[in-house]
């Protein structure tokens, strides 16, 4: 099951976030908001590090099949 931990942020930032969340609907707490933002940022970085999942042999064989089927 999902577990939680604490991350320290400046109290001043926490207050700003509380004000922001009070104005906008959708987030129940500062923690929800911070989790949302961090997931977005982490995903953006992770996406940059993914290599293509095929080899040059795969590439040649697959292109041949795609040509034979009329896709290329």
């Amino acid at each position: 099951m999902s577990k939680y931990t604490s991350v320290s942020i400046p109290l001043t930032l926490h207050k700003r976030l509380e004000k922001l969340i009070a104005k906008k609907t959708g987030f129940k707490s500062v923690s929800d908001y911070v989790t949302y933002v961090l997931r977005e940022v982490v995903a953006m970085h992770e996406m940059k590090e993914v290599p293509e999942p095929f080899t040059s042999t795969d590439l040649a064989e697959i292109k041949e099949r795609l040509r034979a089927l009329g896709y290329l």
Binding site: R39, E40, A43, E46, P53, L59, I62, R65, L66, Y71
Partner: protein
Amino acid sequence: MANPPHGGKLVQVKQSSKDSSALAGFKQNQKLQVSKETATVVSNIANGIFSPLEGFMGENDYLNVLEHMRLENDVPWTIPILLLGPHNHHFGSGDQILLVNEADQPVALMEYEGNFEISREEYAAKVFGTDDKAHPGVAKIFAGNECAISGKLKAAVKPDHGDYADFTLTPKETRILFAEKGWNTVVAFQTRNAPHINHEYLQKSALALVDGLFVNPVLGKKKAGDFKDEVILATYQAIMANYYPKDSVVMSVLHYEMQYAGPKEAIMHAIMRKNFGTTHIIIGRDHAGVGNYYGPYAAQEIFKEFPDLGMTPMFFREFYYCTRCAGIASEKTCPHGEEEKLAFSGTKLRKMFADGEVPPKEFMRPEVSQAISKFKHPFVE
């Protein structure tokens, strides 16, 4: 470059022939029979369509998906992928199990990790949002086993897709296809229907904003009243040959059993298409819904909860032919009422085709109607 796979890795399970020596010599108590639908799930795991899953879920992933709509490692996931089987097995941790089909032919080799009990009531409530057994997904869960057997696939037999083999592409193949076509942005269209005019406008509106369109109809077990697989394929071939630009649209089929889980299934549809390499997905009205279980745009709302999904949903209101506008309109662009909307219920459409009639061209392209009319029984009974 295609969209990176979900969870950062395109899973590729070794594919063996059914006569492979690695799959021979298993005794009856080392085998587990699986349904045709489960065999399809196996194939989807093996080809990476369900990446990053490498097998059937264990209890931690299962509970996390139910409670948080995420795998244990925080990757978004909304519908459990379970192997529900009998309690009376004697598998131990690390055992190699041969999954076989109803004809006792090998489907896959799986390393057993464990099993756990599911609560059908909890599953139905959390995945489908209802315990009503009239819902096809709920009915299926209540008709099945409660013992979930988990394990990683070690090898899988390449399935025989018969008449659909030439229309079936794996994620590896579509990724190369998109790259060869030079498409950086690709929008996926999920469908279990023959194309109406409204679907065509939905797809073309989305295509106007990206490099390519990937039409990906679902073939597999569906509910009564849905179009049969062969009809869906024939109608898409007809519309694509006559109305779609060849250099910016491709179609391949997805073998998958619809769950009718509405919003949660919309996320799964996006994840599968992300693994195929698309960057966007069209989400229209009542996506993956059935009856009145989900709000008409609930499947759009749920995307707000996944900032890290890695797919851009393209939301559209319903398109239709408005007799007053004398053209295709949508709920967003047309001010007229229901009485001006040219629409046919599924029941009415089925009756029309049964009576040898065809819908007007403002509702369905004549080539599509003709393709349907060639089938004596176009609908699932």
